[in-house]
Amino acid sequence: MGALPFESVEELQAVLGRYAYLADRGLATAVWLSLALNKPLLLEGEAGVGKTEVAKVLSELLDRRLVRLQCYEGIDASQALYEWDYSRQLIAVRAAQLGEHEADLFGPDFLVERPLLAAIRAGSRAVLLIDELDRADDEFEAFLLEVLSEFAVTIPEIGRVAAEQPPAVIITSNRTRELHDALKRRCLYHWIDHPSVEREVQIVRVRAPEVPEVLARQVARAVARLRTMDVAKRPGVAETIDWSQALAFLGADRLESETASATLGALVKDHEDLELVRAKLDEVLEPE
């Protein structure tokens, strides 16, 4: 852990803030321990609370390369780890037949590097983001477990590739299904909640400086109220920022029902929710 550029959790929290990511103590501790103990960090939380963003900011502030593996249903080793460049191999075979120079068909030249291999090769110069792991199938999870525990792969034709120092790993999940316990056991687990009103005001101010303070505060309060209402999809921080920006773009410096109603689509993205919020708009804006 000597390689860490910060002394304590508080310092990391401050540095994150300088990179426009306002993390609370829990998240900062999670990131710090993940780096100190070399353990992957599993982040869960509702959509739009900034799970993916953590990895991006971390790669910036550590000055490491961000390697992103976006998971989806049916992803397999050839899309996550490596694949041979078949078309080029085919051409090389043809060329060899015509008597041109011989090529080593299964050499590094024909290897297509996918995110996991890239991360293993880069080792501690990378931050590996495994995004939305819950979308992949459980078989893929088992495969990932193997890679995460060793940080080495064996490519039969080339040999073993191992990371000298494991990369920092951030895994995110939206909880469309429960991840396997074996994987969780290897990770630190943190749940990111919606931020408090105070913090959300700060986030809006940092991310969208053009939004006036008064407006940002009113927006954050309105969103917090909306989240306690009976909506199917609760808006995330990203939506709060979008909405504030939309309002600021229209020249609003206070939250008023007319502009709020016109821009509501930036915040609420479900038809039934939209109807519900429109009906109770006054309640959302200022309940008194």
């Binding site: 852990m1 304590s8 959790v9 103590r25 829990g26 501790t29 999670a30 710090w32 321990l33 100190a36 103990l37 353990k39 599993l42 869960e44 989806y72 249903e73 049916g74 397999d76 050839s78 694949e83 041979w84 078949y86 078309s87 191999q89 085919l90 075979v93 043809r94 060899a96 037949q97 068909l105 819950d134 199938d137 939206n174 469309t176 299904r177 429960e178 316990d181 969780k184 056991r185 990770c187 630190l188 687990y189 943190h190 749940w191 009976d230 199917a232 039934e272």
Partner: protein, 398 residues
């Protein structure tokens, strides 16, 4: 522990060593407490906890709390249980013993790691010895099925069956072949007559023929079975039928298919887990015990809303075959029911409503709730006897 090189804030080395040991015991004890409360905390996690505390380097209560939660809890649902345990194990804002440990040095930490492992290992072997006794495998006794009796049962309504007949019917239901429809998955597999060219395999086999791709390979989409979601009305008038359907769900679980089961009366209860563990009868009885107001009537709309809000995004809801078993006598607002049925219809692949009242030839869906829900239902079936459950099977697999 040896500590040359660095100035220590307090105490002699020897005293520190015993202090550290007591500190670790305290941390390990906390992990064991969590485990005794049913959280899945193994040696590895306790070890990670101790390491995390050592790595943090200071021992204020919040750091301890976070370190423990990060390393030993892996589900948001367990946070509450963790909070309670933490409150009891570290009750004071300042834990005297741990506060004294604040002078822990990194060098010393490496030494203590072995100590942690020994401690945790001991704790585990003790527990295993304690668990070893009194555990018996619960073998299931299989009863032969009398075919002729089943024939008689087929046309009779579940409500009219005696307890013995009911058990027989249960067996018959469990033997029904629940086959769910397929859907296209994203993955491909090799197929001799696939629609897509498989460059990878073609090239591989062409190497055998000196690069000449004689044998061309093809691939096609894999298919997957759709999940089944059962929603069972457990109010008094419905219990006989729901029980039969639960057996039906049990059969599907046994057949290795993805099945989620929910019971509802005035509120929604998820049965999937208990169904996986215990017999369907037992599971249903447990739910029945938890439903307090039998005569309060059913609130289908509110229960569906709860279901969709909580699980609407789950992969087993999207594209699932949803079977709802209820008499449709809604006590809540039919407008809410209609809206929720529409939502459910959009999420599900197919929506089947099983209404035992439909078994009667004179039944017409006039109840306000039923009338509101019907436009969103893909199939409307009786399901009051074995015969009708067989036809349900056919509808499901088509």
């Amino acid at each position: 522990m040896p500590d040359e090189g660095r100035a220590r804030p307090r105490g002699e080395a020897l005293m520190d060593a015993t202090l550290q040991l007591r500190g670790i015991e305290r941390l390990v004890g906390f992990g064991r407490m969590l485990r005794s409360r049913g959280l899945p905390v193994g040696t590895g996690r306790i070890l990670a906890f101790c390491r995390a505390v050592a790595a943090l380097g200071h021992f204020d209560r919040e750091s301890l709390y976070l370190a423990g939660r990060l390393t030993m809890v892996a589900r948001k649902e367990d946070f509450d249980a963790y909070d309670r345990a933490f409150q009891q194990w570290f009750p004071q804002a300042r834990d005297r013993l741990l506060a004294e440990l604040a002078g822990w040095q990194p060098e010393a930490r490496i030494e203590i790691e072995r100590e942690i492992e020994v401690l945790v290992g001991e704790a585990l072997s003790e527990e295993r010895a304690a668990e070893g006794e009194g555990e018996e495998g619960d073998e299931e006794v299989t009863i032969g099925l009398v075919a002729s009796g089943t024939e008689m049962l087929r046309a009779r309504s579940f409500e009219d069956l005696s307890e013995a007949e009911r058990r027989e019917a249960d067996l018959a239901i469990r033997n029904l072949a629940v086959v769910l429809p397929m859907r296209r998955a994203r993955r491909y597999r090799a197929a001799p007559r696939g629609q897509r060219f498989d460059l990878r395999r073609t090239l591989r086999s062409s190497l055998r023929t000196q690069g000449e791709p004689f044998r061309r390979s093809w691939r096609s989409r894999r298919t997957k079975r759709r999940p089944l979601v059962l929603l069972l009305d457990v109010s008094g008038s419905m219990s006989a039928y729901s029980r039969a359907l639960l057996q039906f769900g049990y059969a599907a679980v046994r057949a290795g298919q993805r099945v989620e089961v929910f019971a509802f009366g005035t509120r929604l209860t998820r049965l999937t887990r208990s169904l996986r563990r215990s017999e369907p009868d037992l599971a249903l009885r447990q739910v029945a015990a938890s439903v307090l107001d039998w005569e309060g009537g059913t609130r289908i709309g509110a229960s569906l809303k709860d279901l969709l809000d909580r699980y609407g995004q789950q992969s087993w809801m999207r594209g699932a075959v949803v079977v709802l078993c209820s008499d449709g006598l809604e006590r809540g607002d039919p407008v809410l029911l209609a809206a929720q049925m529409a939502r459910l219809g959009r999420v599900a692949h197919r929506l089947v409503w099983v209404n035992p009242l439909k078994g009667s030839p004179r039944y017409e869906p006039l109840a306000r709730g039923m009338a509101a829900a019907l436009p969103h239902v893909d199939s409307f079936l009786p399901g009051h006897n074995l015969q009708s459950l067989e036809s349900l099977c056919e509808v499901l697999s088509s």
